[in-house]
Structure formats: structure tokens, C-alpha cells
Symmetry: C2
Subunit: 277 residues, 2 copies
């Protein structure tokens, strides 16, 4: 068996998220079906590719990573080309490579970066609309920058986790608290503690505000809840400087609403050097 | 009654073209439904907005124009705002204004500009895919530029019209040959003669080739057939310099295939100054 790593980009608009669901179009399902079409029948059923984490319905990816094992001997660049020939245009394989057997897209991840895009203009182009959250309220940008920087470091992010307890504690995106985790089997299960390495807002041309956050893992809905909370701070619904209090509350009701999926992009996933995998 | 002019942009990906069709999502149908929702019931049934021309399924618009009459007294900027509140995100009203009674989006048009976008890169981003035609063959760009310039001027474009005779001669996009035409009522009906004011290819950043053509009118499929023919010239299937011969043949079979809809944008429509309408 050969272990494979794929780097993927996708437009999540028309998909029910990453995770395979019976009868619904999902990224994982499309990818598995494409692998099946590429393999000759003699190699049996295609494996279910494992993602670095699940993305929700409507969330996009610039650099999602998936891993799976194949028995069929395929040259690395051929797999990329063959998959891109059969995948829908909305999903592209940016890179395919063989990796050591120990590599796992989720368990081996050291850091992830997400981006969230907000449109500030009067009239959002139809060509931009599926990729931004339009927000025209006046915003205190300094207060939002301050809120963003105050989440850097190790914190308990329970206040910013999805309110459904099953989902909150599923914790599929972090190395901590993942009961299936191999690399971190001795960390406490179901932890809501994560480390954020960087967190900042930037203004871009075309009336865009972009939030970029990099961390060792994210709880379900954590980035969208962070953005929703920072927007409440920006428009004065929560006081400037209140992010530390919101985190300390360890309660979902202390934070702001979940920002819409369509503005969110999984930007990239980082792994140890090949020699360390 | 007040006559209205709307300027519209839309992402045509998920629509069955401009023209209303029973049971199918179309731009004209969505716009009529939005006008209906904006009008109070006492003003009766919403008018069917008339476009400057029909765009096919999957074709986009940066500046389509529509006109219609309303009995309801509405301030111009309010109509834009009210329509944008109720239209799908894929359709936006860029401008709404009242115009003299004689104005008609199709009959009053003096010129139209279309753009066609071709992607030359190895791997087309999912975020670009619905708006370009990927073409990776080596292309003789000089021969394509030459072919583009050779259509400038007044020509019979029968070779580049849709092959279905009903559709070819429907001629809905040109001032000539339109039996409903007011402004040009004394020009011969069903003419396939059009005047092209400019026609050129440019290379843009990001592996894009863009064709832009401006003329007094276009036959059905004419821009897509022009592009399909120029691509055949570019890849050497037709000889360099053959465009005049292709036009002279006055036969659809002399030209190349119809390029896909998704690369085509109706860029803008020009009208006389308000004083002349």
C-alpha cells in the first residue's frame, strides 16, 4: 500500500461541506468517487480520503489536505492529472504526492490558517457574492484589530465553539481532544484549549476586509464565531476590549453570532518536514 | 406611465439565459418577479422588462440594459435599492433611472460590447472556472489578432450566425433586420449584415486571453462563433489569414465551432445621449 497526500482547492458554494453524506454532494464524496473512477476495478473499492478537518456547507478551500492509501502503483503527477480530469470544475487537486505511511492529513497537522472575507461596499458584484459576507455597518476597525490580537496565545475557546454540545466537543479540527488522534493520544480528550499563533485583520483593495488566523487547531464554528464576535465589537454591540472577558466566560452565550459560511476559506495546512513525518 | 432604464450585472451560471421560460430560472423572469414584489398589488401585474438582447444560458453580463414602463411613482434610487433587496445575489441592479417614453433597451441601442475570456494556464482555479473557457493548445496569437482585426467594418456575418435558421434570422441583437425595430424600421428585415467598430485580443495577468468586440449589433451566437473560429485559426486548423474567406463563404460550415457560453460577458450597451432618445 502507498500513502498519498493531496492538496485541494474547492468552491464550497454548491456542496454540503467536506464530510460524505448519503445522497448529498460533498467534497469528500466527490473525491472518493473520482479516485474510484481513476482506479481500475481490479483494485477494489476506493478508500475514503481523510481531510485535515471538515469544512461546513458553503465554506471554501484554497489549500485543504487529504490523505489515503492506495494499492495501485500510480506515478504521483499522473494521479493529480487523472483526478482533475474527472473531478467537477469546482474541485481541483493542486498537488499529489506519495508520503510515508505515518502521515495522516488530520493527525499530522501542526497548524492551519483560515481566512474570512467581508465586503464593505454598497453593491456586491454577483461574481464576488458567494465568497464574502457583506457588512455595511460602520465598524470600529481599531477595536476589531485589538480583539483579533487578544486571542493570540493559548486560550480556552469554549465561548467560541459551536453551541451544539455534540458538535462543540467533536473537536475534529484540533490536535488536542481528538479521541482518534495518534500524535496526541496522551493529551486530555475533548479539550477546548487551542493555541493561536497569529490573528489579524487587513484592509484590501475593492472594499474588502480580510481576517486571517493561524493556530494549532480550531473548534467547530470557531473562526465564524470569532468573526461574528469581532463584528459585534466593531459595531459597538459589545464594548471594545471585551474579547478577554468573552473568552473567560467559557459560555457560547457570551459571544456574538456565527458569521455566514460563504466568507470563510481554509487557506492552508502545515505539516512537519517530510523527514519528520 | 413612467419609462425606466435599468443597468444590470449578472452571473449567468445558474440561469437558462435572459429570456423568460416557463418553469425555468431566467434573468428576465427573476427581474419581472422582483419588480412584482416591489410594486404594491394595487399597481397590477409587473411588466416584462425588455433587454438590449437575449443572453444565452451560462452567459454573464457586466452591463446588460433593460427597459419597461411602470405606473407606480417611485424615486429612481429607491427602485434600484428595492430590487437589489429582493433579487438573488447573482443579479444586481447597477443603476435605475427614468427615461423618455421613446427609450427602448433594444431598439435604441447604438452599440454593444462583448468580452470573451480564455484561460491558458495548466490548472484552472475553481473560483475562475465558471467565467473562462480553458484552452491549452499552443496558439498563434498573431494570427488570432489578425483574424480579429479583419472583421472590423461592415460585413455579412452569415457564416458566424447560429446554424439553426430560425435562430440565425431571429437577429434579436441587432438594429438591422429586427422586424420590431422602431429606430430602423426601413432597413431590410432579416439582414445578417453588421458593423464591427473594434475587435481585439489582449493578454491579461493570470494566464488570461481576452477578446473584446464592439459593434452595432450581433447575430445569435456570433461572438461565440467568432471566438471558436479564431481559436481554430490560432491552433492552425484553419490557415492564418482565412477569416475574410470564411466571411465570404456566407455558410456556417465554413467557420469554426461555437465557443462555450461560460467565457462570454455582455460588457456594455451604448445609447444616444438622453437628449436624442
Amino acid at each position: 500500500m502507498q500513502n498519498w497526500k493531496l492538496t485541494l482547492t474547492y468552491d464550497g458554494t454548491n456542496y454540503y461541506g467536506w464530510q460524505v453524506q448519503p445522497g448529498l454532494p460533498t467534497i469528500q464524496g466527490e473525491l472518493q468517487a473520482a479516485i474510484q473512477r481513476v482506479l481500475s476495478r481490479s483494485w477494489g473499492e476506493a478508500p475514503l480520503p481523510q481531510g485535515s478537518g471538515r469544512t461546513d456547507a458553503g465554506v471554501h478551500a484554497l489549500g485543504q489536505v487529504a490523505s489515503f492509501e492506495l494499492g495501485a502503483p500510480i506515478p504521483p503527477e499522473n494521479l493529480q492529472r487523472a483526478l482533475n480530469r474527472t473531478l467537477p470544475d469546482a474541485i481541483r487537486v493542486l498537488e499529489s504526492r506519495t508520503v510515508p505511511a505515518a502521515f495522516h492529513a488530520r493527525h499530522s497537522a501542526l497548524a492551519k490558517t483560515y481566512e474570512y472575507r467581508i465586503y464593505r461596499g454598497q453593491l456586491c458584484s454577483p461574481f464576488l457574492a458567494p465568497y464574502v459576507h457583506p457588512c455595511r455597518w460602520p465598524l470600529d476597525f481599531d477595536a476589531m484589530r485589538d480583539a483579533a490580537s487578544s486571542v493570540v496565545g493559548e486560550h480556552d475557546f469554549l465561548s467560541l465553539a459551536a453551541s451544539d454540545p455534540d458538535i462543540t466537543l467533536r473537536s475534529e479540527e484540533g490536535p488536542n481532544g481528538d479521541s482518534e488522534s495518534v500524535a496526541n493520544a496522551n493529551t486530555p480528550a475533548r479539550s477546548t484549549i487551542r493555541t493561536i499563533f497569529s490573528s489579524e485583520w487587513t484592509e484590501s483593495p475593492g472594499d474588502l476586509l480580510t481576517y486571517r488566523v493561524r493556530g494549532n487547531g480550531f473548534l467547530h464554528h470557531m473562526v465564524r464565531n470569532l468573526v461574528g464576535t469581532m463584528l459585534e465589537i466593531g459595531r459597538g454591540q459589545f464594548p471594545a476590549g471585551s474579547m478577554p472577558t468573552i473568552l473567560a466566560a467559557r459560555s457560547r452565550s457570551a459571544a456574538g453570532p456565527t458569521a455566514p459560511a460563504r466568507g470563510l476559506f481554509l487557506h492552508s495546512v502545515e505539516y512537519p518536514d517530510d523527514s519528520l513525518i
